[in-house]
Symmetry: C2
Subunit: 234 residues, 2 copies
DNA sequence: ACAAAAGTGTTAGTCATACACCCATGT
DNA sequence: ACATGGGTGTATGACTAACACTTTTGT
């Protein structure tokens, strides 16, 4: 069981955010010393989703805003000892990650052997994890085109530019601000607030996500899959 | 490991084809007597795709024209003894199924405890298999909208009406023949032949699928997943 | 001749894209 | 004042859906 965890990070020198994900350095064979996806072993008394949530919390200390099964990998040659690995992928809100990282830095108890990498510039990973990340990114890119999933990367309140930059980071290309505004406003998923973000140039209106709308349509799986995210009802 | 196997069947009394799938009657607890998806156990020396192909062949005696992993189900309450089941779904060409069924009928060695059911009128199934079939149908419906997957249900040569009826069976609604023709002709996946199917009214041109085009874009998984269908290169 | 499916043409509506333009703010 | 991002307006082309129409066969 492994999880590809995505969030958005704004590099200090750059002005545009990028997709980043946490990796864990392996401390034993096989692939000792290489970076790998965080994961854990399936507990006999635990559902698959619950296991993914748990291992994710153990790595990042956070609850994902979105969690979905990616694929089950089980080729005989993917590891010296053939292992079937069920892989999930998740989105974390950028603000929660920042808060968590800051808290760790203050306490001096940053998790050992965990590091965040830009998804576009990954090193060689253990097992078939490079392929797995590629597939997760592909799924994310596809899904952003027909769902509201990008909101899973943003805080409660955000500007249209924030949202657009999230889309741009995922898709890897610039979007027309004017057209983007109309599309997203017409989708009925945004609730405008009366607040504005000031600081540079003309203030931008802050929006809030309409929690009545699911981030993604999971079809007949929706009633089966109940992530422990009852915290964010509405 | 289970597989949802779809094919198209034209009922004698009806003129339109419908989606059907084979089920196996359980001969032991749990759920003895109920119908269930065909499946088998994972072999230690076998990849997941290979296992799906094998169990599919054991049930139908056929090689699928399309095979894709559906989902890994592993809720603790899905079975008295909690089992993680990796489920695949597959498409079979209608003509191959007909030939196989006819051969069995002639030999009198029709497989025991296997029966084909219309996907729209399933009985109560064992485990969570009703949900699994619903999900497979949902995936099929979605996929038919952005891929050429419906060709996996058809023989080498087919008319546009055949193809349209396959789409209609999957989507559950009628399509405009004129618009359907233009869309599919413009997609570049069809090769017209010089043959026509006669028999009723004006003869219809037969087409052939362009094997250079994949039935569906599998993204970064494409190079990993190599179904043993090298028979149909070109 | 007529019914029915094969196949062509035409039109209206919707949507994505490009881009010109005005608005409001910090410097 | 002016640069810059916020926000509005508008034209164009692509694609979808609806449907009238012609063609070709079997009966």
């Amino acid at each position: 069981m492994s999880t590809v965890i995505f969030t958005l990070r704004r590099h200090p020198e750059q002005d545009r955010p990028a997709i980043v994900l946490p990796l864990v350095r392996r401390t034993r064979d096989p692939f000792e010393g290489l970076w790998a996806l965080p994961g854990g072993w399936l507990d006999a008394r635990e559902g698959l989703d619950a296991t993914a949530s748990r291992t994710l919390a153990e790595t990042t200390g956070l609850t994902p805003s979105y969690l979905e099964q990616l694929y089950a990998f089980g080729d005989v040659d993917r590891s010296p000892t053939r292992v079937v690995s069920i892989v999930y992928w998740a989105l974390l809100r950028a603000d929660e990650v920042d808060a968590q990282v800051a808290a760790h830095a203050a306490d001096g108890d940053a998790p050992e052997n965990v590091e965040w990498f830009a998804a576009a510039e990954l090193p060689e990973l253990a097992f078939d994890h490079n392929t797995i990340v590629d597939y997760a990114l592909w799924r994310l890119r596809n899904k952003v085109g027909y769902s509201r999933i990008a909101h899973g990367l943003l805080p409660d309140e955000f500007t249209l530019a924030d949202l657009r930059e999230a889309y741009e980071a995922i898709l890897g290309r610039r979007l027309d601000p004017a057209n983007f505004r109309r599309q997203v406003e017409g989708s009925g998923t945004l609730i405008p607030t009366e607040s504005f973000r000031t600081g540079s140039h003309r203030p931008a209106r802050l929006y809030r996500y309409n929690q009545d709308v699911e981030l993604a349509d999971r079809g007949p799986l929706a009633r089966l899959v109940q992530p422990a995210a009852s915290a964010e009802s509405r």
